[in-house]
């Protein structure tokens, strides 16, 4: 059995491009949010442009038009190909009104985003959206 020689210096490690998250890592991150409850499609809505101007700042909005606000405990957003699967997690308190949050995120490349809503009864709902990200033409 041949062994490939591996040369890793500290500088070499620093120069390696960041590892990409895998679909398994995303599934695992989602599980940590859902507590293992089965994921069903529906109820939660993810608004994001299908083709973004720049992956560094992508506006997104998560909302749950499919359930009365009082029923929605938390929202989370996950991605498939950034170095980390988690993007954002939001817990709603007694003074929250609509179960909705808008923010701006970073996307390393074209990929799938998954929004998940966890309801008060423990059930979890998701929506998946594919986003196309192109590189800026003139970068420093």
């Amino acid at each position: 059995m041949k062994r490939r020689p591996v040369l890793l210096t500290a500088a070499g490690v620093a120069l390696l491009p960041p590892a990409r998250a895998t679909p398994e890592a995303m599934a695992s991150a989602i599980r940590s949010f859902t507590g293992g409850a089965p994921l069903r499609e529906g109820k939660v809505q993810l608004d994001v442009a299908p083709l973004v101007d720049n992956g560094n700042t992508v506006p997104v909005t998560l909302s749950v038009p499919g359930a009365p606000p009082a029923e929605v405990a938390a929202l989370a957003l996950f991605n498939e190909r950034n170095p980390l699967s988690d993007v954002l997690r939001v817990d709603f308190g007694p003074r929250a009104a609509a179960r909705s949050v808008s923010t701006r995120i970073r996307l390393a490349t074209s990929q799938q985003l998954v929004a998940v809503a966890r309801l008060a009864d423990g059930s979890c709902w998701s929506q998946r959206v594919e986003v196309v990200v192109t590189l800026a033409a003139c970068i420093e």
């Binding site: 442009a49 083709l51 973004v52 101007d53 720049n54 560094n56 700042t57 992508v58 506006p59 701006r104 192109t134 590189l135 800026a136 033409a137 003139c138 970068i139 420093e140």
Partner: protein, 255 residues
């Protein structure tokens, strides 16, 4: 109610900025996606406004041994700085050459505080530039009809059409011949400086026209001129003349 009217006027001006001029000139705003446009239109969303707020605070801040501030000489920026950014670069009689807004502010600051402001996008210089430019939002770019600017402006025009760098491209190759087409998936705008200093999504920060021009030169694999080199002002002069009459959107958001 005055504030309301002013806000409405600014909104109307921005809406006007979104329409192409009869000669076909269009602001970079029109080449952006809807969500990026929304980011610029709404002051609550526009990250550039963070720098405008910072500039507003710096405007009244006493500096130097005698504790002078911008406000001490210039009063309320809303009145005294209105229209200023729209007519820069301008000829500086003391220095006997054209200067852009950043240099004008830096020169002024240096009188109050001799060791202030080194070249580059230092935070406070940028914040002041953003605050002053913001006072001209909605106003048309109005290059001064000053004959002393002509030689530099002409050099700028030649630079704009000069092939540069390993990619051997002139500004006009992308921004005139191929404006509206796509490069690497992104639309190529017409390169009108309608919103500087801009919050560039690529930088995730506010930056000056000079910074943007530098990255253009890097983009064609040319060595950028030194910070503050006359070539930048010559280009800025030409670009301002080329964009004359277009409305300022400062601080704009751009990809």
């Amino acid at each position: 109610m005055r504030a309301c009217a002013a806000a409405l006027m600014a909104l109307a001006a921005l809406a006007a900025a979104a329409q192409p001029l009869p000669d076909g000139r269009r602001s970079g705003f029109e080449f952006m996606g809807e969500s990026t446009q929304a980011m610029q239109r709404d002051d609550a969303l526009n990250p550039g406004m963070l720098w405008v707020l910072e500039g507003e605070a710096a405007w009244s801040q006493p500096v130097g041994a005698e504790g002078h501030s911008c406000a001490g000489c210039h009063g309320a920026a809303r009145q005294s700085m209105r229209g200023v950014a729209a007519r820069y670069p301008a000829f500086d009689a003391a220095l006997q050459r054209p200067v852009d807004l950043r240099q004008r502010i830096a020169n002024c600051r240096r009188k109050l505080q001799p060791q202030a402001l080194a070249p580059g996008d230092e935070p406070q210089a940028l914040a002041l530039e953003a605050y002053v430019a913001f006072q001209s939002r909605g106003l048309p770019i109005t290059p001064p009809a000053d004959p002393r600017l002509e030689p530099a402006r002409e050099r700028g025009r030649r630079l704009f059409h000069q092939r540069l760098g390993q990619l051997d491209l002139a500004c006009s190759d992308c921004h005139e011949t191929h404006a509206g087409r796509r490069l690497g998936g992104s639309p190529i705008p017409q390169a009108h400086p309608t919103g500087y200093p801009i919050y560039r999504l690529e930088w995730q920060s506010l930056g000056s026209l000079q910074r943007r021009l530098r990255s253009c030169l890097s983009g064609v694999r040319a060595e950028p001129f030194a910070w503050g080199a006359p070539e930048w002002i010559e280009l800025e002069l030409f670009l301002a003349w080329r964009a004359r009459g277009m409305l300022l959107e400062s601080p704009a958001v751009r990809p």
